[in-house]
Structures are given as C-alpha cells and as structure tokens.
Symmetry: C2
Subunit: 101 residues, 2 copies
C-alpha cells in the first residue's frame, strides 16, 4: 500500500460524519437507513449520506451489499475503528482492547 493510498484512507476518515459512520460500523454492519438517523451529527440529507459512504468505499474502508430493498455496509478495515480510540485516548496502541471504550 503506497503513501498515497494510506493518505487517502485518512482523508476519508477526516470528516465527522464519515468518522461517526465508521465508528458505528465498527459495532457491526448496518443499512443506510440506520446511518441516516445517527443522533451524533446534525441531520444530513440522504444524498449527502450516500456521497459520504461512497468516499469511504472508494478508500477501501467499507463495502456494500444489497439485501432486498436495503443496502448494508460493513467495515473492511476493522482496525480503523480502533484507531479512533488511539487518537482519542492515550497516545500509544499497546495493550489496547475494545474494553477501553
């Protein structure tokens, strides 16, 4: 993975709406309809949410799958959910676990 590609991953995470989505997806896959109702953020329109999801998908962070009328997204890089802990908390990764949430 090149420097450029790594930077693209961080860039994709560099928006509050997208980071919130990724943190939510860290708990397990969910459909767009759920992501559209996350209370963490000022309510964004459907199209805007959709665009943000596309950005994350293009960076290789998430993948989508259609099931019936809905589209479900899931995290392809589980570590990015942990990264938020690292950045948000003590500044070292060693001995970190999800219990630190």
């Amino acid at each position: 993975m090149t420097l450029r590609e790594r930077a693209a991953v961080f860039k994709a995470l560099g928006h509050p709406a997208r980071l919130a989505m990724v943190e939510r997806l860290g708990q397990g896959e969910c459909c767009v309809c759920i992501l559209m109702e996350m209370p963490k953020l000022p309510k964004l329109s459907g199209p805007t949410i959709s665009q943000h999801l596309l950005v994350l998908k293009n960076a290789g962070i998430i993948a989508d799958e259609k099931r019936g009328k809905r589209i479900f997204y899931r995290l392809l890089m589980p570590c990015v959910a942990d990264i938020s802990l690292c950045v948000g908390g003590r500044h070292g990764l060693t001995n970190m676990s999800t219990a630190d949430l």
Copy 2:
C-alpha cells in the same frame, strides 16, 4: 476528545506530504530543513511545507521548538505513526510491533 476533534486529526493526516512528515517524525524529531528534503514526495516549496506543518500543529499532532536558527518538530501523538502500519498492513492492531515495518 470530541468526534470533531478526532476527525480533524484524520483530516490532517489525509495528505501524502503530511503523512510522510508524520511517518518521518515517528523516527524522532527533526527540523524543517530535513522535512523539506524528503525524497518520498515531489519537491514542494518551503512555504508549502510550512503550511502543512501548521495544519499538523493545529490538529495537535506535532509541536515545534526553536533552537538557534532552526525550528524542530516532534510528534505529540506517537500512536499516529503506528496507525499507518495498521492501515497499510493487515487490518487489526493486535500484536503489532515496529518490526512489522
């Protein structure tokens, strides 16, 4: 640390030049003059480098200190250097060490 602040950290890391600088600073502090000569990137002008460093500083990722004629930068969040490993490599953080470079 709020969602917004965490996102700001990722945003700051989301440019190849800045990510390269952070990865370099992960090996220890250095002055701007060194960062300006990193071979990893297409050569950027001094002012451009300076602006990138300011972005990293505003995000709380690095700090500067003047010593004589030079200004030295160092990493305030050592974990961000490790993050690059996580994103670039296998997608989990457990058992990661610098040997994985």
